[in-house]
């Protein structure tokens, strides 16, 4: 009886794992196959589309990096008479506010919203919500303070909004400090797989590209209709993605709109960042699963992709569970089919890495980016996956306990930024 139960659990888990592997394989093949043909050419169709645009840059203790992004904002090619940049100094304890004020004095389109200790430091979503009433653009774009965008990124990000169905647009994130160490190199590989292939494929296949909350924007009326950002959500970006889709709008991914970020440089920082992502993503899964299934505004393929996307951070936990189930099964009922399914475990170990881009997605992304030496590190991605197993498991346990105890966490879950990123590897 016990063997039968274990077998049933193991088969169910294997089917789930295989479903994800097939999904990502389809993504990799689609992007590779479509690499010849240009993506939906919003740029050429709507070259003159220049709506009024507000850029929000939330910053909490970011004195090391805030000057860099503000300097870049002054170099953007977007018409300045249609541009408004708002820095949200969220009760910073360092010189973030002073640096932003200096830019504000020199450039009239840069404004600074200072939040004091009473109203500030309640999280990124709260800071962004506080700034929305001060914006005057039809489109509201968001950049984290450690990011460094292309000069013409605004044109690329706003062009898709010429389609009234588009509620949000997401650009590509590339790691700026990749040469720093092994952690930044592996994070960079995850980013390549996650954006160049995963997001691109979801765009090409008409699925659900994810709005990342930075290097992207939302149509103002959509954001107002949705009531702004959910301040109680840990992954406010994933939450907004699903709320946008459930409201009947789409998210468009533009791979050409590149922005450079400073990746985490240590395993400790990696843990902290991924813990927040996984816990927030799981929180969204609990919140939106039923809505996605019952929604009449989503197509069948969007529903399937939405369900897989919402549950992606549960996969490391499920892989761990299937591993544990395997041990007694191996000794009690080692059969032919068991060995066949056991191979799915092998692939899953190399498949659900970091941002959950499998090794073949990362490889295809690196190939399309013209990266050659980066491929050599792909085998090492297994360590990031193994590292993600305890991260996601802890996030899951903590989330369940916080749900039971009704605890809410409204504060900045920050990744420390050092302002080190100046290099960019292209091979």
């Amino acid at each position: 009886m016990i063997v039968e139960i274990l077998e049933a659990v193991y088969v169910t888990l294997s089917v789930l794992i295989i479903a994800y592997i097939v999904r990502h394989f389809v993504f990799a093949f689609t992007v590779l196959k479509n690499s010849d043909s240009p993506q939906r050419a919003f740029r050429t169709e709507s070259e003159g589309y220049r709506p009024t645009t507000s850029v929000l840059i939330p910053a909490c203790d970011e004195e090391r990096v805030i000057g860099r992004i503000l300097q870049r904002m002054t170099e953007l090619t977007y018409p300045k008479d249609k541009l408004q940049i708002i820095v949200i100094n969220d009760a910073s304890k360092d010189h973030t506010g002073e640096i932003a004020d200096q830019f504000s004095k020199s450039y009239p389109y840069i404004e600074v919203l200072h939040r004091n200790k009473t109203e500030g430091r309640k999280g990124k979503a709260a800071a962004l919500n506080a700034a929305i009433p001060h914006t005057n653009g039809e489109i509201i774009l968001f950049f984290d303070s450690d990011y460094y965008p292309q000069k013409d990124i605004l044109e690329k990000l706003v062009s898709p909004f010429s389609d009234p169905e588009v509620g949000a647009v997401q650009g590509r994130v590339t790691v700026l400090n990749e040469p720093k160490n092994l952690v930044t190199r592996l994070v960079s590989l995850e980013r390549i797989g996650g954006y160049r292939v995963d997001q691109q494929a979801r765009e090409s296949l008409g699925l659900i590209p994810q709005f990342g909350g930075t290097v992207g924007g939302v149509r103002r009326i959509v954001l107002e209709r949705l009531g702004g950002w959910d301040e109680s959500a840990l992954a406010e970006d994933t939450d907004l993605t699903f709320r946008i889709y459930l409201a009947g709008f789409k998210v468009h991914y533009n791979n050409d709109a590149e922005c450079y970020e400073e990746a985490v440089e240590s395993w400790r920082a990696y843990w902290k960042q991924r813990y927040r992502w996984s816990r927030g993503h799981m929180q969204c899964a609990f919140k939106h699963l039923a809505n996605v299934i019952t929604s009449r505004k989503l197509t069948v393929r969007e529903k399937i992709d939405g369900l897989l996307l919402l549950n992606v951070y549960f996969m490391p936990v499920l892989v761990l569970l299937s591993w544990i189930v395997c041990i007694p099964l191996f000794f009690l009922a080692s059969s032919q089919w068991f060995l066949m399914l056991w191979t799915s475990m092998s692939i899953s170990l190399y498949s659900f890495v970091g941002n959950f881009a499998p090794f073949f997605e990362v490889g295809v992304g690196a190939y399309l980016d013209g990266r050659t030496r980066a491929h050599w590190l792909i085998s090492l991605l297994i360590f990031t996956f193994l590292y993600n197993i305890p991260i996601c498991t802890k996030a899951f346990i903590d989330l369940v306990f916080s749900k039971l105890l009704g605890k809410k966490e409204l504060y900045w879950h920050k990744t420390s930024h050092l302002g080190n990123g100046k290099g960019y590897i292209v091979n």
Partner: protein, 151 residues
Amino acid sequence: MDSEEKGRGDIADASANNSAANSQRRGSSWHMIPGFSAGMIASSVFLFGSLTSLESAAMLTIFNFLFVFLIFPLRGNLPLKLLTLLMGNVIGLAWNGLFSFSANVIAICMEPVFNTLYLILSPFLNLIWIVSYWSICLTIFSESKEWKEVD
């Protein structure tokens, strides 16, 4: 400051060149037909022949499937792709043979402990050759771009 800004300009230039680079890496979709045929033949030999264990045959089939669909559409000449596919099968066969042989030998000496260790470690070891070999093959068919330094 000037050189730094100039360097950052290079970043934008580098990314702008990405789309041009993509068009240069146009693949050869029709290469998948001979590739698929070769992969099918190899997989059939492993699955229905008595060369390897079922577990090894499954791993080699996965390798052939991955390789055909994700290497053959890339830019590059067909004979080289077929050669790398053949080499991959030989390496995979050798890896699995060596792995099984070692496992059997060690199992005789320290059966209960080893069985558990084998169970935990085999998923890593089973696939590591596929990931490594596939990655190296990607390097063979990739076009290198130059290194850029911002400042």
